[in-house]
């Protein structure tokens, strides 16, 4: 992929009086990386996010405790050398629970957005490419989905469907609900992009070559909107993490014994814990805040780097 771009670029980067720095051949991806690097806050955010992701992936290396292993003999301990953030009411190591909780929170955020992107691409791609009545029907449906009251509906569905699902599987339910309800914005954006792209000559050329419509959409049109999709998906991960944490905090999302940052904060609903055991609820809250802020900063940086309209 990169090599192909280099070949293409070599023909038209023949302007003469360029400095040596500028003479290096820039592929589109290199250009984006370079622009992204200029925003220091986004780069720092990327580094912090990498640290968070790595520590969540390598949780077993970082903490030798099992987040599910309980031992009543050591329940409700305050932070100590052995248990950095103490233990919970069942004697499980709390630091380990936060690390594994991060795994769940990030997984839910990422997979919810994947679902969102797939549906958004299908609906937006088809509506934008075919136009006419297909576009009309799909966009009306999208508008109806957009006018759903998001949080109340998520709460209702999660509570009702959740009753017949095992606690260990609830995280998949949350992913699916969030994914199924948040695609309309993305679908609209992709449709708008494709509406203008399909008038361009490469689409005409593809049609003249007799390429199937579905292939034109997937291989020629959608890849051209990838920049926008990446920016929007990044920001969507941030809001999916926030939504999951809110749901789990209400007790309607990911359910114990599976830990997630949102349901760990539930300890704060008990006045005694809120007041005397702040190490139970402040760290997971800060984890959510830090992760979401980093993702938002990266999203902004990507937007500046990818969006040709921004400077």
């Amino acid at each position: 992929m990169t090599e192909k771009n280099v070949d293409m670029k070599e023909d038209n980067t023949v302007e003469k009086d360029l400095t040596e720095e500028q003479q290096k051949i820039l592929t589109p991806s290199k250009l984006i990386i370079r622009k992204f690097k200029k925003r220091r806050s986004s780069v720092i955010a990327l580094i912090i996010l990498c640290v968070i992701i790595l520590s969540v992936i390598f949780a077993p290396v970082i903490s030798k405790h099992d987040p599910y292993e309980y031992d009543f003999a050591r329940a409700k301990q305050p932070p100590s050398k052995e248990h950095i953030l103490g233990t919970d009411e069942l004697g499980r190591d709390y630091f380990a629970r936060i690390l594994y909780g991060g795994r769940v929170a990030l997984q839910v955020g990422i997979f919810a957005v994947l679902i969102e992107v797939v549906i958004g691409c299908i609906v937006g791609g088809i509506a934008g490419y075919y136009g006419g009545w297909i576009d009309n029907v799909l966009m009306r449906a999208t508008e109806i989905f957009m006018s759903f009251p998001f949080l109340p509906l998520v709460i209702t569905i999660s509570a009702i469907v959740g009753t017949s699902i095992a606690p260990e599987k609830k995280m998949y339910l949350v992913m699916i609900i969030l994914g199924l309800l948040s695609w309309p914005g993305l679908a609209r954006m992709i449709r708008g992009q494709i509406l203008s792209l399909r008038e361009q000559e490469f689409v005409l050329a593809a049609k003249a070559l007799g390429i199937r419509n579905s292939k034109i959409i997937w291989r020629h049109l959608i890849p051209n909107t990838v920049g926008y999709i990446v920016v929007n998906a990044t920001l969507a991960v941030a809001s999916a993490i926030l939504q999951e944490s809110a749901l789990s905090f209400l007790g309607l999302g990911v359910a114990p014994p599976v830990p997630t940052w949102g349901n760990l904060i539930q300890y704060a609903r008990d006045m005694y814990n809120l007041q005397h055991r702040p190490w139970l609820w402040i760290p997971p809250g800060l984890c959510i805040f830090a992760t979401v802020m980093c993702i938002n900063l990266i999203g902004d940086g990507l937007r500046d780097a990818i969006d040709p309209k921004s400077k």
Binding site: L153, T156, L274, G285, L297
Partner: protein
């Protein structure tokens, strides 16, 4: 214009019907028999059958939906299981409590956000601008419920400066001015969280729309005519920037109400959001359906208001 509004209102009807079918369908997915919870556990099989027939549960699902719909249209949403009173009697007082909090927040947020948005756009990349960018980032990245808990911890528990729960002090029967003061004090912390949350997006929005206008040719023309900067910004630029801002006014209404779901739960504010969570947890289906429909209609009306506002303010948009 009136015809446009009327047409849009008529267009809402099928959408509302569709949403009501969806909500009804979801709630009918519930496993188990709702009759069980209403009756004496010693009830005989015949009594249970009679109860099912009385509630219409023996009929096919589309008949049940039709019955629910026609009764709802007459204002009969059934009986609330938690409050032991008809749903229509329960809901209005909660709507009122949510409105008190929301109107206060709404006015405050807009009054502050618009000037800040203008200033940050006019002085782009200045220190003020950077400060508010950081502030906006904080606002959109902070989970509302966690922020609420932090405020409770610092202002209500560590230092007992402000009330942290409910809408009035329990046990004190304040009247008149004292009562108003009491409610206002209870509103400070939840209001603060909501204001900061909505400020973040409002400031961003105003700033972007101001920036777009400021770079237009007619602003340069206005400047080159020798108009003072004040006139250029507030008369020419702001008026045009107002157009997209008007739409956000409409969109914010439903999001404020549903955003309050988390906050009302954390601060125990007796509003519609907290009741929704209560109803969901207690499986009070009649109350749930009524509240979900309320939120759905509110969202639709908010969107409609945004469109009407847009058409009213922007002379370039033709209503036909």
């Amino acid at each position: 214009m009136l015809r446009y509004i009327a047409r849009r209102l008529i267009q809402l009807i099928p959408v509302i019907l569709l949403i009501s079918i969806l909500i009804f369908g979801i709630i009918k997915l519930v496993p188990g028999d709702p009759v069980g919870s209403n009756l004496d556990p010693r009830a005989t099989a015949e009594q249970k059958l009679a109860e099912r027939a009385r509630l219409g549960l023996d009929k096919p699902i589309y008949v049940q939906y039709w019955n629910w719909l026609t009764r709802s249209l007459k204002g009969d949403f059934g009986y609330s299981y938690i409050y032991k009173r008809p749903v229509v009697e329960v809901v209005p007082s909660f709507i009122k409590n949510s409105l008190i909090l929301n109107i206060f927040v709404y006015l405050f947020a807009f009054i502050i956000a618009i000037p800040i948005g203008i200033i940050t756009a006019v002085k782009q990349y200045s220190k003020t601008d950077n400060f508010f960018s950081a502030f906006s980032l904080f606002g959109i990245s902070m989970p509302t419920f966690f922020f609420g808990l932090l405020l409770i911890y610092f202002f209500g528990v560590k230092n007992q400066w402000l009330p942290i729960s409910g809408m009035i002090t329990v046990g004190r029967n304040y009247q008149g001015i004292a009562r108003l003061k009491d409610v206002l004090l209870h509103m400070v912390l939840p209001g603060l969280v909501l204001i900061i949350g909505s400020l973040a997006s409002l400031v961003r929005y105003t700033r972007t729309s101001m920036l777009e206008v400021i770079n237009q040719d007619y602003i340069r023309t206005a400047r080159s005519k020798g108009l003072s900067e004040k006139v250029v910004i507030y008369k020419h630029a702001f008026r045009n920037a107002l157009i997209p801002i008007v739409t956000i006014v409409g969109f914010t209404i439903p999001s404020l109400f549903s955003g309050a779901v988390m906050l009302e739960t954390v601060f125990n504010w007796p509003g519609i959001g907290r009741v929704l969570v209560e109803a969901v947890n207690a499986r009070d289906y009649n109350l749930m359906m009524a509240l979900d429909m309320f939120f759905a209609i509110l969202t639709l009306l908010g969107n409609l208001l945004a469109d009407i506002g847009y058409a009213l303010v922007d002379p370039r948009i033709k209503v036909e």
